[in-house]
Amino acid sequence: MAINKDSNGYTFIFAIALVVVVGAGLAAISIGLKPFQDKNVEIKKKMDILSAINAKEINGSDTLDISRKNAEKLYEKHILVDECVVIGSDGKERDLEAFDVDIKKQYRDKNLSWCDRDYPLYVAEVDGAKKYIIPVVGSGLWGPIWGYIAVDDDKETIYGATFDHKTETPGLGAEIKQEFYYTQYVGEKISGGIKSVKDGTGKEVGNGKVDGITGGTITSKGVEEMVNRTLEVYVKYFKG
């Protein structure tokens, strides 16, 4: 080849051709795989919702935890899709599909004030009784935290809760994910609000108080703020 590979022209043409080819290829792959990835995200969300009511797959004598495999089946079994609603901060229902509302995205959107956000409510059925699952989202120390709180059919007592986080400190704030933390919420009342306390003895806990995480105060306070801010809206809806 008589092309001078060190010339500027060749270098530019090579660079442009490379970028075009690579860009087109990656775009095609990304579009092709998108449906599969969206499906996985959807299943993950269903798993999170189900974990608030601690759903289990009962297969003969075996009890299986929620996994990607059985999430769809369990979701269909427990969640009453037709009864799920979306409410506004005024406690009135909005004409939206609960599962399609991305509350994390709305929380991040600084232009959307809290009263304009949508509040989805999932209705589930466990052993013949109705449970209401409330998604919550807030801020921890380093990044977003979120969770799901299930309320009993008296629309007052917490039946189950689960929290997760993106980047809280392992061993400290990240402990909100652990069973010992979220089980404290079970049995509390939603109308009075939940207070996070620092209690080494365990005597103060209960009756609207949960023990925060030692060394994870800001995360614990974040959970407190997120839970109370969100529950207020739902209490309004349940009473109205």
């Binding site: 060190d6 090579f14 996985n40």
Partner: protein, 224 residues
């Protein structure tokens, strides 16, 4: 590249080509001798599964990358060759990441940022620059396989040790009973060593492997 085609000069598995695969396993191991790819060896060797998935991902990226670079080696303008290599690694890594997210979401979640960090794995750029830029595609592929296996062997060795003594598991199967409920070995006072799960321990483990390897293979010891 079918084997029926009469190789013009050298057979597909000539001595030289075999050396390309065998040498990185011991005498020229990318991790223990060249001390490349250490960051990932520290980060993802907590469980054997992660180590294997990482090795698989690196095999794909390095294998395909070495071939692509080797095929383009006479076309790449030398002034922008590093950028071209980087574009190739980055695109391959994005492909791996997208595929994992689509078909192995649990593994993708666990490996999280480390898949993206394959780009910074020095072994890859090192092989592109040192080997693929100067050799034909077939030897480049063999070189990639050799180096990845050499890398993978160390990852798996470290991860086997860390998973057994750090989490009391082997391939996710509990070995010593239930830690939380205190059954099995835990009931008589056995404890998992939490230090082993932390990244610094992997450095000790790699160091010990280097020590053992040099004690056995004395030609690796440098003159002082």
């Amino acid at each position: 590249m079918s084997e029926k085609v009469k190789a013009p000069k050298e057979p597909l598995f000539s001595k030289k080509n075999k050396r390309l695969v065998v040498e990185p396993l011991d005498d020229n191991n990318p991790v223990t001798i060249q001390v490349l790819g250490i960051c990932s060896a520290l980060a993802i060797t907590v469980s054997i599964e992660q180590a294997l998935v990482m090795t698989g991902s690196v095999l794909f990226v390095l294998g395909a990358g070495n071939m692509i670079i080797s095929m383009l080696r006479n076309l790449i303008p030398s002034r922008i060759r590093i950028i071209v290599q980087l574009v190739v690694v980055a695109s391959l890594v994005i492909i791996v990441n997208e595929v994992l997210k689509a078909f192995m979401p649990d593994v993708a979640e666990k490996l999280s940022v480390f898949v993206g960090l394959i780009i910074t794995n020095c072994i890859i750029m090192g092989r592109f620059e040192a080997f693929a830029m100067a050799n034909k595609p077939w030897p480049s592929l063999l070189d990639a396989i050799g180096n990845t296996v050499g890398y993978g062997v160390i990852l798996v060795l470290v991860s086997v040790f860390r998973e057994i003594f750090g989490s009391g598991k082997f391939f996710g199967i509990t070995l010593f009973g239930d830690r939380i409920e205190g059954t099995g070995a835990y009931s008589v006072g056995y404890m998992d060593n939490n230090f082993i799960i932390l990244a610094p321990f992997a450095l000790f483990a790699v160091g010990i492997i280097i020590w053992i390897q040099r004690a056995r293979n004395t030609k690796l010891i440098e003159e002082h």
